[in-house]
């Protein structure tokens, strides 16, 4: 039997990028199954240390499979999708451009064009899947009526063991995600500051994530300095060990994103037993299930009160930890890997 060859195409590849991490996890599986192929991206972060080549170097034979991780506009991608023998689309979602027009017009344009291109690609592929039902729903609306769900391949075994007990010291609140408008780090800082003033003057907030742009990063830093001087740390670039340490030392994870197709950091927080307080928006309720404290309130004081409960109520913390573990069972890596295998081989 001929050896399977699967080539992956990413819209962008970066060091601290969830989609890149996902593509690399897929590649490890492919190698384990004895499959060949190569990985390519339309845009590559110069600092990326991974075997991902430029899209212009992609070449494949008619019998090869092409797996597109779609997250933004790439010129000519729909034509590429039509050329491959078997093409799979894994849709990671595209943030609505409304979040970017005021802060990065280039990104906004890519998002706007990407949502248009999605319909073309969805019609050109053999298999279309979203990493969540939320994303699959968008795919169906875009023209892929049979779109299914191929969950994130979340390999818990690659993460260090969580600590048995809650961390010592003053309350530490954490959010992990690119500093970007739709992630609403401005709201995170405000909710944290309300919590600090009302309940925990010695609390600390850690934001982990690369900024959308230096200008946007500066705005978030300025806001933190203005509202909570000295209480907010912004870590733009952390390696895996440093990131895991952030989770281990956190008393609560606060996610106030207005748009997420999946939100992998929620699963990481569940793994480390960190109680999650989150805005019930977009794909977040689906990913978190019943394992997070979800609210859709406009009043940030509600989230401040939820932080107080999450960081201070041991009984609730234990219950959320149990639910987080149960939630992670739904994202069992072996089950996802089998779905992936079936999708590729047809």
């Amino acid at each position: 039997m001929a050896r399977n060859r699967v080539h992956q195409v990413l819209c962008a590849a970066g060091r601290y990028d969830a989609i890149t991490t996902q593509a690399l996890a897929f590649r490890r599986r492919f190698e384990r199954w004895g499959w060949g192929g190569s990985d390519h991206a339309a845009q590559i972060d110069p600092g990326l240390d991974a075997d991902i080549g430029p899209l212009s170097t992609l070449s494949f034979e008619a019998s090869d499979a092409l797996l597109i991780h779609y997250s933004g506009y790439v010129p000519g991608l729909e034509a590429l999708a039509r050329r491959a023998g078997r093409t799979l689309l894994v849709y990671h979602n595209i943030t609505p451009p409304r979040w970017f027009w005021a802060y990065d017009s280039g990104v906004a344009l890519h998002c706007a064009l990407g949502r248009e291109q999605l319909a073309e690609i969805a019609r050109a592929v053999d298999v279309a899947a979203g990493v969540s039902e939320f994303n699959a729903g968008e795919l169906r609306a875009a023209g892929a009526p049979a779109a299914s769900v191929l969950p994130i391949l979340f390999d818990r075994d690659r993460l260090p063991q969580p600590a048995a007990d809650p961390p010592a010291g003053p309350p530490r609140v954490l959010f992990v995600g690119r500093l970007a408008p739709h992630k609403r780090q401005d709201d995170v800082i405000r909710a944290f500051e309300l919590y600090r003033r009302r309940h925990a003057p010695d609390a600390r907030l850690t934001l982990v994530g690369e900024p959308l742009s230096p200008a946007f990063g500066a705005r978030i830093r300025d806001l933190a300095d203005e509202l909570a001087p000295g209480a907010v740390e912004i870590e733009e670039r952390v390696d895996a060990a440093e990131l895991w340490e952030c989770y281990r030392s956190a008393h609560a994870f606060l996610c106030l994103s207005e748009h997420e197709g999946f939100c992998i950091p929620l699963l990481e927080a569940f793994h480390f037993g960190v109680p999650v307080v989150a805005r019930a928006a977009a794909g977040i309720p689906e990913t978190s299930g019943d394992a997070a404290l979800l609210a859709d309130d406009d009043d940030l004081a509600v989230f401040a009160e939820l932080l107080h409960v999450a960081a201070g109520d041991d009984g609730l913390r234990a219950e959320l930890r149990r639910r987080g573990d149960a939630r992670l069972e739904c994202f069992d890596a072996e089950r996802t890997a089998e779905l992936l295998r079936a999708a590729v081989t047809g």
Partner: protein, 123 residues
């Protein structure tokens, strides 16, 4: 009736505490500063501001550990080509501003025609 689910109960309790806290004067501080504002459709003033393009040199940055010298070279090139870029940006901004002006004028005229015809403007 309170929810039997402990997570849902915690959310209800947080709402109640936020309400009572506000009633007692807590949470009264105004937290100003930068706030993200999504834009569904730019208004006229925003369109006019965007017509005048003015790239920020802070957009030249590095994500590599040893990228600093490259950034310095790029910034030096920008300085050397400042006169040329000034002309290019001026030409593009002039075109943008004229197009926006025509567009706004068309909007005004369409609105006036709709008013005269007595019909409702389209949503």
């Amino acid at each position: 009736m309170a929810s039997p689910d402990p997570a849902q109960r915690a959310v209800e309790r947080a709402r109640e505490r936020a309400r009572s806290g506000r009633a007692e004067g807590a949470y009264g501080d105004e937290l100003g500063g930068f706030e993200v504002e999504p834009i569904d459709r730019a208004d006229r003033a925003q369109l006019l501001r965007w017509a005048l393009i003015s790239p920020d040199a802070a957009g030249i940055y590095t994500t590599r550990r040893l990228g600093r010298p490259i950034v310095l070279v790029k910034r030096a090139l920008l300085r050397l080509l400042r006169q040329y870029h000034h002309d290019v940006l001026g030409q593009q901004s002039r075109f943008n501003a004229q197009v926006v002006d025509r567009l706004l004028d068309l909007e005004r005229r369409v609105a006036e025609l709709e008013r005269r015809a007595g019909g409702d403007p389209p949503a």
